[in-house]
Symmetry: C2
Subunit: 415 residues, 2 copies
């Protein structure tokens, strides 16, 4: 037996770097920084008192069950609530169709492991959610980027994939996508599901934001078009609170069985206490009324951000106008790079996330993700003013450089 | 592009069946069954009131942080407490050396994924913890069984592995092992670490039970012998309550960094609420005093089980005498099979776990795992009496069959 080199890491972790954005967020979340970087929900919206009451009630009335091991599938009354909500949205669902997860990130990880072997292809929007790309990378899968526009993933482009090996999975954030805030149009939802199911390709529909719609009309969930191959994720992280780490997977039986086995080997089951706290809360809490307040807060904050962008951004800047969620996607003026904006803004104690890490294909570094969820309207107004000044300075500089370059290039072409 | 067969599952889940024991436990945990099957801690030991107070305090004083997203590494004060406990046990440890996990099962899963590629070898005790085998199977790794005796894994047998390809990991439950209740002797701990480190092989030391010692002297943790390649897991599941799902990994920096990246892609971070509840609890709770009560309870229950086994088991039965933990490992009389005992006992509303699923190598089906943690001494006395009758009946039957067989075989050999 030969002696191994130090730390015989697996291939999968050798190829996965820590998230670049994670390092950026560490800087961004310093207390003196006005941050539009993280995708954090507003803590003032957490129903802390109702959660405290539910926790006290659970620990007083059922401590032995709430603190004991539980079944991998999850707490039955919570699964029933989730199922009833799907049913109410037009997708008939039984409690048995639901697997409770430790946040919806775990849903992504489990589904990735259920379908992706080394070298397998996974279709993703470009740009897409970074931690999903990380989960796919840990399966040594190959992301296949498909461009997106204001109506989400360009389903017309899917036909181009038909020449190559079939993908093993499609991953999409259909509603108020991270990082763009865009939603997949209803007709494209139908087309995407039709394309994938005809080819036997499962679709992972990640819907952490769909409940936070503050404008426009609801869109049909992808699972409404096919309940066999569409796997739908949901979470309480954006509606109640992320610190509880309670999400769910809705999947057909053959898929859900595999996911349950995976979940069991991953962490046995999700915290019984937290599942029961939420189940108890939902018995009496006005969830829809609460959602109304959440939506109203984010509507106002998004409005403030849109106004500030109109007021302070230089010509040549464009941005999305999401109807919900937490994110605006900003396209910088020509020649202005995301990392330069990040550096200049953080020097003035304002934080944003550069857009380039969200892309699979190398792209011009001309985008920023702005989160409007976690700052007051006043902070948004002042922070975006600073950001506008930073972008304007860099745009002016880029223009000067460009003029000089054109000049230099004209000179060098001179005989 | 060819059309895929339905459900293009990955190879890793196609090869992994749901745990056989899990199905058995579903039967065993019916309310009218007297179960010695599950490895459940005693719920009457959960410090429910202290947990309720800590939860109320956290949600009243720091709701915004306790319900918000947190860092992947875990809540700093909790990491500090865990580190201080290691230091107090003679292994100098900083908070930075600790990664908080969603139970120690997640620690097994993360370490497996960090080191095991398809076909890689992982050394395990035989028999060993079933859900660890499942996690290794999901990495498509090959378990390499090493026999164990009353002093745990037979380190003398490790030399036999030196001819083959080096393993990528050693997995061991050093103290009060699941399923046998045995502990790895101090000299073997040293020998195991010496063997592995000389070959650059990391060791995963899974220690969920080490804190529940009710007899004998503490043994040095494996990490005391090497702090670079020994990865040590711990959990509050057996000391406070499993429903909180809070465990930890102690690992050297290069390893911990990979595990943190894996954890981030797996579930972002462990529930901030639960981490803060435990951290708050530990500020004022007499943890060592509580551990004393836990140990005393399990000492008494183990004593009751040992007495009942002496009273009711037929000749030819043997069992381990653990100095802590939750499990006794019973060797059945010749010709008595674990599944037959399970069937006959469950018909009489007593549940045990057959031993065969815990083995990697095919073994005679002559073992049972008995958990003494979750039943009163009176229940243990009455349940073990029933089990003794079941085993005695089957042993008598096996002896009759054996006599008949010898007779038949003698006849058929007659000319």
């Amino acid at each position: 037996m030969s002696i191994r080199s130090k730390y015989p890491f697996s291939r999968r972790v050798s190829g996965t770097a820590p998230s670049a954005v994670r390092e950026i967020l560490k800087v961004a979340e310093q207390p003196d920084v006005l941050s539009f970087a993280g995708g954090l929900p507003a803590p003032e919206l957490f129903p802390a008192e109702a959660i405290a009451e539910a926790a006290a009630s659970v620990l007083a009335t059922e401590p032995s069950s709430a603190l004991q091991y539980g079944v991998t599938e999850g707490h039955a009354p919570l699964r029933e609530w989730v199922a009833a909500r799907f049913t109410g949205q037009g997708v008939p669902t039984r409690a048995d169709d639901i697997l409770i997860t430790h946040g919806s990130q775990q849903g992504i990880d489990l589904v990735a492991r259920a379908f992706l072997d080394r070298g397998d292809r996974v279709v993703v929007e470009d740009p897409t959610y970074l931690a999903a790309l990380q989960a796919f990378s840990l399966c040594e899968a190959v992301p296949v980027p498909v461009a997106s526009d204001d109506d989400g993933l360009c389903t017309e482009a899917l036909g181009e994939l038909d020449g190559a090996e079939a993908p093993s999975l499609v991953y999409v954030v259909p509603t108020f996508q991270n990082p763009t805030g865009r939603s997949l149009a209803a007709s494209r939802r139908r087309d995407l599901v039709r394309w994938a199911t005809a080819r036997g390709v499962p679709i992972l529909a990640d819907e952490p934001y769909a409940d936070i719609r503050f404008a426009g009309e609801p869109l049909p969930p992808l699972v409404a078009f096919d309940q066999d191959l569409v796997i739908q994720l949901g979470t309480f992280s954006k509606t109640l609170a992320p610190g509880l780490r309670i999400g769910w997977i809705r999947a057909s039986e053959p898929i859900r069985k595999r996911l349950t086995t995976l979940k069991q080997a991953s962490d046995l089951h999700t915290s019984t206490l937290n599942q029961r706290i939420i189940a108890r809360l939902l018995e009496t809490f006005d969830f829809e009324g609460h959602l109304g307040r959440v939506r109203e807060t984010y509507r106002a904050r998004h409005g403030a951000m849109h106004l500030a962008l109109q007021e302070w951004m230089p010509k040549g800047t464009a941005w999305t106008r999401p109807e919900g969620g937490l994110f605006v996607w900003l396209s910088l003026p020509p020649g202005v790079h995301d990392l330069d904006v990040f550096q200049a803004a953080i020097a003035r104690k304002v934080a944003v996330v550069p857009g380039s890490p969200f892309f699979v294909t190398p792209q011009p570094r001309g985008h920023l993700r702005l989160s409007f969820g976690n700052r007051s309207e006043a902070h948004i107004a002042s922070g975006l003013r600073t950001l506008g000044e930073v972008v304007r300075d860099l745009a002016a500089k880029a223009e000067r450089t460009n003029v000089t370059k054109s000049h230099a290039s004209a000179q060098s072409l001179a005989p």
